[in-house]
Subunit: 478 residues, 2 copies
């Protein structure tokens, strides 16, 4: 059986893998844990009891973030079996660390009361975050459990959108006054006895809560204890406002290597703080959702969701894709006469469409990323369009030329080769132009440029490719 030793990251990786392996390879463990079978009903009771005991030890030993990852890596039944073993006081933390896509599954078997009880082990910020975003409306019930003065503070935060600084900030901050000495600060800290996680600095405020500076722990340790806070503090700290976008705050944290930062209201009064752990989550989610949205996946789909759920989350994109493919098909149908005269066109047309889709997707991926990283400013639009069209023209002439030559040689028809080359150049230009314009327009309209951009560009380059190629063929070859 497993023996706890040094707390290396690698060891915990092994523990997680072992837990997943045990649950995945031995159905009997899962059935027993879910109460579908009793131990006595099964073969080889000795080994099974050992395995189940080992699962218990691993679950008890692994900290909540590791348990969250393990749960995400299991199919539904195994997930339930494991969740049942997670201790009540750990469940809130596990929920907090787990990704949204598995929440539904986990809280499925819990009553509202059990859920609220599990939340009690969390900080108030964390409780609010969860009740706001869990797929069950518990906000009212949570508020009812709070003392009146907390309730007022909580209500104030509840209205920030999910992607705003206000929604991810923490209330728990340590504040000190500018006029006290570092010695007094140290005495005060010792009296407090603990600091919130990721505290690298204290906030210096006046009596009316106005932020006047920041005092890093380093600063307290490095300076003489007799000096005053106001003499050694950073009096021009970087601050955020609750309406700032979380993504932008993440960029600033990255740029400035911050661990925490103050959140102030428009009057400069301290409301709370942002910490790097929330920021890292934002970064992971942001890039992850870009990837998913470009591929036409919803944020909610998890890789172990049952078939019924996956069908439900994906049907919209499939339907859209089918509609655009249908339109492209109608374009081809319009040229039925041309194709019946020259059947070779049918086998060549997917090349024109495909190469356009490929180039369009390259362009759009690059623009979407550059927009997300704030590398593109309004002044650059013309430059970008010209650049992409330039790349498309060069590629079109080179590869279109090669393809035209191959076509000429294959079908012994120079005109057909010429049409091929011209169609490829034109479709690549369309792809480049739309690859820049689509995401930039979505951005201007306040939409997320990643959503469905890949589906849209493919639709345009397909339809456009067929139309250009068959149109040119009708003009020049019949």
């Amino acid at each position: 059986m497993f023996v706890k030793s040094k707390n290396s990251a690698r060891l915990r990786d092994e523990e997680r893998a072992r837990l997943i392996w045990l649950l995945n390879t031995n159905k009997a463990i899962v059935s027993t844990l879910l109460g579908k079978l009793t131990l006595a009903e099964q073969y080889d009771v000795g080994t099974l009891a050992d395995d189940i005991a080992e699962v218990g030890v691993l679950v008890a030993h692994l900290p909540p973030p590791d348990l969250a990852d393990t749960l995400e890596a299991l199919p539904a039944e195994e997930r339930h079996a494991l969740w049942n073993l997670v201790a009540k006081e750990k469940r809130g933390h596990v929920l907090l660390e787990a990704s949204e896509s598995v929440w539904d599954d986990l809280i499925d078997g819990m009553s509202d009361r059990e859920l609220l009880e599990a939340l009690q082990y969390l900080d108030i910020d964390e409780q609010i975050y969860l009740v706001q975003h869990l797929p069950r409306n518990l906000t009212g019930r949570l508020l009812a459990t709070l003392p009146a003065e907390e309730r007022a503070r909580v209500r104030q935060v509840l209205h920030y959108e999910k992607n705003r600084v206000g929604a991810i900030m923490e209330f728990e901050v340590i504040t000190v006054r500018p006029e006290v000495t570092l010695q007094a600060v140290q005495r005060y800290l010792r009296r407090l006895g603990k600091m919130p996680e990721n505290t690298d600095k204290l906030f210096v405020t006046r009596r009316d809560k106005t932020l006047v500076g920041e005092l890093s722990l380093t600063c307290i340790l490095l300076n003489d204890a007799q000096r005053k806070v106001s003499e050694v503090m950073d009096d021009d700290p970087l601050t955020f406002e609750p309406e700032d976008k979380a993504e932008n705050a993440a960029r600033t944290f990255e740029r400035d290597n911050l661990v925490s930062a103050a959140v102030v209201d428009t009057d400069g009064k301290l409301m709370g703080r942002l910490t790097i752990d929330e920021i890292v989550d934002v970064v992971y989610e942001e890039t992850d959702s870009d990837l998913r949205r470009m591929g036409g996946l919803s944020a909610e789909e998890d890789v172990f969701a049952p078939v019924s759920k996956a069908v439900k989350t994906r049907w919209a994109w499939l339907a859209i894709n089918l509609c655009t493919a249908f339109i492209a098909s109608r374009v081809i149908d319009g040229f039925e006469h041309t194709i019946s005269q020259l059947v070779a066109l049918a086998s060549l047309m997917p090349i024109v469409a495909g190469i356009g889709g490929n180039t369009g997707n390259q362009t759009i991926t690059m623009i979407v990323r550059a927009l997300a990283l704030q590398n593109i400013q309004p002044g650059n639009l013309t430059f970008l369009i010209l650049r992409e069209m330039g790349v498309a023209l060069v590629n079109g002439l080179v590869w279109g030329g090669i393809m035209g030559g191959v076509t000429w040689w294959l079908y012994d028809d120079m005109a057909l080769g010429g049409v091929m080359t011209l169609a490829m150049v034109l479709n690549l230009l369309v792809a480049a132009l739309m690859g820049v314009i689509i995401p930039m327009t979505m951005m201007k309209l306040g939409r997320d440029p990643a959503v469905g951009s890949s589906v849209m560009i493919t639709a345009i380059t397909d339809t456009g490719g067929f139309f250009i190629f068959l149109g040119l063929a009708t003009l020049f070859l019949l």
Copy 2:
């Protein structure tokens, strides 16, 4: 002109935007800065001089990370003009913060000597990182400038690959002995006078450098100064080894909300530390490169690279795509006789291929992400394949059924509708199967599952779609 006020994140965003706007909208500024024109040669000298002065003030005021972002957001000429204004002692830091894609451009006009001088303002870790990864080989020259004892330490680190913990760790750590008191630690820190950035803990080592624990700054501040380090330290800290993957370390940092962590060799001796700022960079790069690679873009292409460079970085994917499209085209050509008998097939076949490509890409995106987030373990392969095939079967029957009905109605041909439905179901199954198998196989072979997976799946679903549809048509309709 611009006036410095409170250091809010928003203000610096405005300064960056202003700088980019000035350089993008007024060609005269750039020409003057690059020495192509003198002030006297131009109209409206007063405004121009003011604008240039403002550019100078902004460059002097913005910190290196902001300058790096600004440089990334400018076309080549403007980038050079701005880089020339960056002070020598800032250049190293700007390089460090800038993404790889612009390095080439920035160091273009600098001699080796200038570059080495610019590096001098950096820590030794940072210098090593840059000389190792800059597109110019300066490692030898840098080593020559170092004192002998440093050289040995540097050589030891030089051989770690870029994506390993060893390559991103820092040497600068503060160590203390377990037997001293917290008071002694505080005295020692005050004597040091400063701590490396992102120091949230000191490392407790024995005389032979063996790591025995960690002492957080919080711990020093909260405990009585008479207590010994060994009494209050964390004696089972989480550690990394230099051969660990940086991506995995990033996941651990996220899981455990770490700010820094020790890197130890196999004997448990302290080698250096990892800090959250490096980790945040790893996270950004990792997800960014997943996105780029899936779209068939190289990591080196930046959105403002000149046409010639973009053509060079993209040609390989285009060539591959053209080859696969050509193969698909040959498959269609094989059915020329079938198509000439029933021209409607030519307009319907792209629907079958397109829907397969869409589904395959959804599946592959999900699997690649789940692999990156370590949500998939070997035990899950069968489950995943069955799940995706289940989703494909349901979608194939529903949407293939609808499409089959539409085809029947459009062409008044029931058999054609049936072939359409059957072909869509089969191609969706192929897409689902390959969408799981391709990335999982690449992973097993030690390849990056993101690279080109999108191109590969599209090739298979196109070729497969045409073959299945036209093959079924030949069997049942002729």
